[in-house]
Symmetry: C2
Subunit: 331 residues, 2 copies
């Protein structure tokens, strides 16, 4: 994986510059479309197209099972992961509706749900081989022809895993990185904090090696997301990240190389309290802030409409000369 | 107009309650769709439908001409208002692309652009009759059959008018409410602050009467927006407000009756610095915050995709029982 990261392509500066020049000549005050202009430039840079597009978005939900769930850290029974996978396949989840709304293609990647990764307070969640296999599985999501890849997850107890990843990668106290997830409070929340602290302490020796941290404290769906991010970069596909668990998986790559996430935007700031701090660590401002905390790529799918709007403005707006609109007064 | 305001219908509490009950049973942790759930309840309450819809959004741009523009308070020449109206009609502006993206219906309401309202530092911008006529014209936007009304404006110098409205309605210093608008800096910005201060001082005697303030310091497009908001309320059409000038027009109604904007959401927090403070005065949190500062209903049109997503989730998601998904553990 390190070899893959070392060979990541950079942005297409020429395509980005052409978008910037075009945007400066569209019939609006300079910069007045705000982040829509930033989105158009970012899509151009990472698709390698001077006219970026967002007609073929793919929404991916990676589902994994966590041994640490047995410690009572979630508000839901562990069976819910498999039940929700069936719900995704039947079309009944939020992400199904949100994917239809953006005319997207929803893929559900079911990891080995019958064999949860180990409880990370007792030993590594995965050995290196299992983690690498999960990353390779995730890489399949980044197929040629996709305009943008929306990444998300489902996995009872995976905000516990995400909090442990963040604590190991960035330091601080367990309580800084732990939140209610699907809605734990009181004694269960205290167990969650304790579990995260125990897990990170148990694996302190490998905390300088982000890929080892991912194997020790992560889950298969989180490793798959890291793999999908890398494959998207190689395949010139910009990525929308969704929520706390998804961003924690991405953070593993950022700790290896701070430029590894330059082709990614964070779609939505989760209501999970630590997500804001995690986004700040990655130097990224989420596009949306709507108090959502569902995961399953819901925020990423929702933000695709902003990408479509950015492309529509870039493509369809008239220029000052052709529209007979006067440019600004000399200042 | 006061008679209209006194007769405004309230929310449909039964429809809202049915949405709340349905949302509690959808396959997601309670509240995890954040503001999408709030949007669905709000649409239900103000459309008076237990299954709200967002299939027929209308986007309205009201264009007006301001005498105060002659004082050099804008970065653009005054001809740009008429030029942009032609651009809207020809399909070349940002709002055209954003309206297509939401499958909406764009209407451009051209006020009397050949006869700008008077420079408010010299006397009232409009007399009472002209203001009332502009409000009545705006009321035509709220036709039966529309699911949501997006309101926006175009008018060189109208952020100067908006700042004067805010200063007269809420107090403070002129500089608190003045920003760069389309991009004024330095001496032009100082002239803008001075102009706002002079105008509000000139009309201090009527500052306790919000409708008189609207006539004295507003513009025809801002009065039309106030009219459209009232007519939408009477016609059970929820409203998305866009940007600083549009929100300032709405604030006039809020000063008459603090419940007058309960059927309105603010779509986007403008990069115009005073917009955040104005939203706070109205007790409203904008849905989007993307650094846009274009006006022309662009932020409102963009936010319609969130309303569509909220309706799609409410309509399409499976319930716990039917999907075979376990509800949360007893806490």
């Amino acid at each position: 994986m390190r070899a893959v990261i070392a060979q990541m392509p950079g942005p297409d500066v020429a395509a980005r510059t052409k978008v910037q020049l075009r945007q400066a000549d569209l019939t609006k005050p300079p910069g007045s479309l705000g982040r829509l202009e930033e989105i158009a430039e970012w899509l151009a840079a990472w698709q390698g197209r001077e006219r970026p597009r967002c007609e073929r978005p793919r929404v991916c939900v990676f589902a994994g099972a966590h041994g640490v769930a047995a410690r009572g850290v979630s508000a839901y029974p562990t069976d819910v992961t498999r039940q929700m996978v069936r719900n995704f396949i039947a079309g009944g989840a939020a992400v199904n509706q949100l994917t239809v709304a953006i005319d997207g293609d929803l893929r559900v990647y079911e990891m080995d749900l019958a064999n949860p990764v180990a409880d990370f307070t007792q030993g590594p969640a995965m050995d290196e081989t299992r983690c690498a296999r999960a990353m390779a599985y995730g890489m399949m999501a980044a197929e040629t022809g996709i305009d943008v890849l929306c990444l998300g997850e489902m996995g009872i107890a995976n905000t516990t895993s995400a909090a442990a990843l963040c604590l190991a990668l960035f330091g601080g106290e367990a309580a800084d990185w732990v939140g209610p997830g699907t809605g734990v409070v009181g004694a269960a929340l205290a167990r969650k904090v304790e579990t995260v602290g125990l897990g990170v302490e148990h694996h302190r020796a490998i905390s300088g090696d982000p890929l080892a941290v991912l194997a020790a404290l992560g889950g298969e769906e989180l490793a798959a997301i890291a793999g999908a991010i890398l494959a998207a970069r190689m395949g010139h596909i910009p990525v929308l990240l969704d929520g706390y668990a998804c961003t924690a998986a991405a953070a593993v790559l950022h700790r290896i190389d701070p430029t590894a996430l330059d082709h990614c935007l964070i779609a939505h700031r989760s209501a999970e309290p630590a997500h804001g701090a995690l986004c700040a660590r990655l130097g990224k401002q989420p596009l949306l802030d709507l108090g959502m905390r569902l995961g399953e790529a819901s925020g990423a799918a929702l933000a695709v409409s902003l990408l479509k709007a950015a492309c529509a403005c870039l493509d369809g707006m008239a220029r000052f000369g052709e529209a007979g609109v006067s440019p600004r007064n000399p200042s």
